[in-house]
Point group: C2
């Protein structure tokens, strides 16, 4: 596996965007690719992930306790990607293996086997491509699947009879949460930001009710969709969505706080809901979480979601952007709500 002068492109951040993500805050750099050392593999990346959570790392100072900021003019470490091993000096990994790891947004990566990344989620792992195509492991069978699965069943403690509202329900995580709640027989309301997405939720995913949050005051839209209130709110949005949920939750209701995309572009954080006292009045639980905190459920998730995929009970869509150089634009589109399902870059 001797190679001469192998080079590969990678995306680097050149400035922290203020407000909306701009592709002009990134650049493409062509770099030499070194040979893998002992215990390392060389991966040619084929697909790389685009997630709302990345926006939180495009800040000089991110939310405390969250992922650290990406450095400027340097590789962006900690983005999930899949690829094919083109050279291996690590036991258990061979040329031709399809793997995931956390050195995405670049064409080639040298990865050390066993080294933890993204709190363990991004550790080099061989993937079963008989079960699903490689890029599914960046979405439905990867971090998004784990986040949806742990968030609904463990964090949200889904209970018999729960009426469930999922925001950003046409997104990578939301669409899985909504479908799994349907599989379990629940009344499920989904919200999204366009009439196309609402149609997708109703016609393709079979939700009981869905609305476009831009169509009116949220509390009113939610009341029409769930006239008797809700028991579980799966929050991908925060802000006014969380406020509406607190007003609609019945006693002993729960909020699964997965993300707050409405606030990610803000230079200064928006105030929280003014009706948080509802939690006291109605014995509510709000629980935040990160999928990577529930890695122990990865096996269960891949088994269950894998079965539901085979049985046609879970559908997923991907928004595929072609070419590494378009990764920043893909993130910008995701943040503007222009993508559906999992957003991916094909390298």
């Amino acid at each position: 596996m001797t190679r001469i002068a192998l080079t590969g492109r990678e995306v680097q951040l050149t400035a922290y965007p203020s407000g909306e993500v701009r592709p002009s805050d990134f650049r493409i750099v062509e770099k030499d690719v070194r040979e893998p050392g002992p215990g390392e593999v060389l991966v040619r990346n084929t697909w790389t992930s685009v997630d709302a959570g990345l926006r939180l790392r495009l800040r000089e100072k991110g939310p405390e306790g969250y992922f650290v900021a990406f450095p400027l003019d340097a590789p962006m470490e900690g983005i999930m990607t899949v690829g094919e091993i083109v050279g291996s000096r690590a036991a258990g990994f061979e040329q031709g293996d399809t793997v995931w790891h956390a050195s995405g947004w670049r064409e080639y990566a040298v990865v050390k086997a066993g080294e933890q990344a993204l709190a363990g989620l991004g550790t080099l792992t061989r993937l079963d491509t008989d079960l699903a195509p490689p890029q599914a492991y960046l979405g439905v069978l990867g971090g998004n699947g784990l986040t949806a699965y742990a968030g609904l069943f463990r964090v949200g403690e889904l209970r018999d009879g729960d009426v469930v509202w999922v925001s950003a329900a046409a997104g990578a995580v939301g669409s899985l949460v909504a479908q799994m709640a349907k599989i379990r027989g629940h009344y499920v309301v989904g919200s999204a930001g366009s009439s196309d997405k609402v149609r997708y939720l109703l016609d393709e995913l079979g939700l009981d009710a869905a609305f476009n949050y831009k169509d009116g005051p949220l509390p009113e839209l939610l009341r029409q969709a769930a006239p008797d209130g809700i028991d579980l709110y799966f929050d991908n949005v925060g802000g006014d969505h969380l406020q509406a949920a607190l007003g609609a939750l019945r006693p002993w209701g729960r909020v699964t706080m997965c993300g707050a995309i409405s606030d990610y572009d803000a230079a200064t954080p928006a105030p929280g809901p003014s009706n948080l006292f509802q939690a006291v009045a109605n014995n509510l639980t709000l629980r935040g979480f990160r999928g990577s905190a529930h890695l122990d459920m990865m096996g269960d998730m891949q088994r269950d979601i894998g079965r539901w995929l085979r049985d046609g009970k879970i559908r997923y869509v991907e928004t595929v952007v072609e070419g590494l150089e378009n990764a920043p634009e893909a993130l910008a589109r995701l943040m503007r709500g222009e993508t559906t399902g999992k957003t991916l870059v094909r390298i």
Copy 2:
């Protein structure tokens, strides 16, 4: 038990206060007291309770799902009180029994045995005055004790090694929470609104650290008191206190949302914390609750707190206001932070 022309005074609300509670929004009415009917008892009330939660019922429209507003110019139902039975037509209750019930802020009350009030908490109940004096059942052995006990052990899921912060720690609930956490061996920080109260927390209750929240920026005061962060925040205050807690909570931390006195006088609700995203980043749980939702723990609470009282491990102080006519002023003082421990009116 024939009586002629028995009359008694009661407090009525004449206008909903805007902003701070004003005694001028109340009046004292002298009324005929009727004989108890079948299944009823006549109680001469001796002590009546003053709670921050009452403020929430002095609004034409309270927080949804919470107690309904008190009507104007009518008896204020649903305030805990203790007294002595002076006439009984209810099986199991006799003249001379000391009882609690939920028709406080008046001298005499006719109460139906078995009838639920305050979500069950205020159902007519005979009290064991060998264990503690009657008024203790309005505080440490009653609703406050239950709220503290359920809030710390069940809602807050107190865990070995937790660093605990209690706000309004010199109050009726907070002082119990702080002491119980100390009994269990935790590092406990208390905050309050005067240097006298801080001294009480340190010298009398033996907390590990305490501060006056008026002495500086809350996050800084909290950092000095708990340099390595906290694991459990018992929230009686809301607002800036909750925001400071979210910034200091370590991974898997919890917030027990018991009340939000900082917001009770506000005509329009204040915005919530702008750093709620910390819950996502650090896998935090925020859980609101009402003591009355945990009535099943009343027996355990009275057994445990009763034992700690006998063993001198729990202390409590009372702010006693003399005379029914001063009940509104007692509430106003409590809301201004001028009372310590349980606030009571001796009738």
